[in-house]
Symmetry: C2
Subunit: 83 residues, 2 copies
């Protein structure tokens, strides 16, 4: 089976996010006064094949832990879409 994983890797809530802060100020300068709490992370899409949705979930989980996210600074979540 073919899957597409849609992964979000975001800086942990407890940590400052300077890139997000910079964009927040940028938006406010552009007159978006009603925005707050901008945070910026990565969005990763991966296509993969696996025997089942469970196997694909385990694979993506492992890939996040081993390479895609830095657990000290980042959290991740993902969705799998059958293709």
């Amino acid at each position: 089976m073919n899957f597409r994983a849609e992964i979000d890797v975001m800086p942990l809530k407890e940590l400052l996010d300077p890139q997000g802060k910079a964009v927040e100020h940028g938006l406010q300068k552009l007159n978006f006064k009603e925005v707050a709490d901008v945070r910026i992370g990565k969005h990763i899409t991966i296509k993969l094949t696996a025997d089942s949705k469970e196997a694909a979930t385990a694979k993506v989980e492992e890939a996040c832990k081993k390479l895609l996210a830095n657990p000290i600074m980042e959290g991740y979540k993902f969705e799998l879409v059958a293709e």
Copy 2:
């Protein structure tokens, strides 16, 4: 009303994504042979207030066009979640 916008800004399909390619090779070296077509973009969350979902959608759309995405190289999509 308070909303949270979950925005994905991704490199356009037509363009090379060197960061995605590097991660794809990295995954394959870590023995994830079944992965392909890795693409990496940004995930942005923004909290905002607006009178209605329509107004919030228009705001986020404008923010994407004016600051968050570079239309020459990137596409965006987003979801609004009421909070």
